[in-house]
Amino acid sequence: MADEKKDKDEKQPSVAGDIGALLTGLKTTLRESFRPVVTTMYPEDKTPRSERYRGRHYLRRYDNGLERCIGCELCAAACPVGCILVIAAENTDENRVSPGERYAKTYEINMLRCIFCGYCEEACPVQAIVLGPEYELSDTSREKFIYTKEKLLEPLPPDVQARLDAPPSAPHPDPLPRGGEG
């Protein structure tokens, strides 16, 4: 079917040459249409991300379940857009949340402001805040973009969680909130 003579009016080099050019174009598009599709079927397939990709934040824990964050607020100070709010509280023997003197009672990140620069990660002296690989962060209201501590905090390690879930009849020799750095 490649017999279209689209444009016979450009006489400068030669009519035949121009028609040949048009046929070349048609040949090219036809050949391309039989080559494999390059589209990534996004929600099902995802392109690989770099090891160092900076996505949503996580607050990490130690292996024994204690939070790493010591409430020093260096991340908030380092943040260029001021999207981090940390309110610290003292650790006590009855309520030990982190191994240090203090812990973050409130830790909130406004994800609408965050520019994912990773300065908080660099500033943190105990590697408590890290940027993970997730980037599908869309949501339906502005309020939902204030990520609270509950949302940011890693889940407990499975062994610690299992210990907490165990029936209270068998008290563990080393209950969770006690003990120093794991």
């Binding site: 079917m1 689209k6 009016d9 048609l26 598009t29 391309e32 249409s33």
Partner: protein
Amino acid sequence: MNDFYNNAIGHWVVVVVAMALLLFVILTATAYTVWFERVALGRIQRRPGPNRVGPAGLMQLAADGVKLAFKESFIPANTDRVIYVLAPTIGVAAAFLAWVVIPIGLWYNVTYWIADVNVGILIVFAVSSLNVYAIVLGGYSSNNKYSLLGGLRSAAQLISYEMALGLALVPTFMIVGSLRLRDIVDYTVSWGPYHGPIPLILLTPVGFIIYLISATAETNRTPFDLPEAEQELIGGFLTEYSGLKFTMYYLSEYLNVITVSTLAVLLFFGGWYLGPIPPIIAFLFKVVIMIFVYIWLRGTFPRLRYDMLMRLGWKVLLPLAMANVIATAVVLVAVS
């Protein structure tokens, strides 16, 4: 059946049922032409095209249709309301009217048509010329300079290419000696041992090439989509249209693509005759191939500049078409 058909009321019942059936078939065909175009263009650009709604994206058109139907039917301020609403309906009506005389070969000796007019192809030309009113009036009534420019361009373009289009088909009529589309398809030759229908492109190849180019211009499709010209004219005559009125323009564009493809098949490729293949399958196959050619052209060529379009129409296609008529006449006289 014949008694029933010859009865005045029975005749109308048959015609109305036939029209309703044809309307359904063409509308479905239009929807799947849009799907086919999107998939084909996607493949040309190495994309998959629509593939989300339904199997292989086949229900995409239902989703698009529902979306367009429920959009706000917005009429901008200071438009000429009557003409603004009327223009797209003219487009759709003209696009559908052409199908009144187009025969569809269903089986050997069984052909489906609404009206078997002896000047069939002239009616097709007459109603397809009405399309220019849809575009010019739509552009004029929108109270938008881009719409008006698109409408004016379309007027000039359609008038220029209509002549070449008409003249491109004259050799066919001279050879066949009839304007009835069924006669053109049934044109038979006795060439040595072969006796039967032939694709007329063998006799008028130049006519087909002129027809192909002019018909692309007539349907306002790339590379002749100057009335729309998104990059220059926002959307040309379509700029101010939305919702159902936009759908009507869209529908008429794709209807026209099917119409010109079907006409090309009827006039140049022997209609529903293709060796031992059953007529309806051969007919559909040929039409789909022709539609693909139009999509292929769209996927390949950039839009012509306005002066180039006019030059191509008046200085190349029209003289070529006239020369083709004269050459055919000379050959016909010499042969007979």
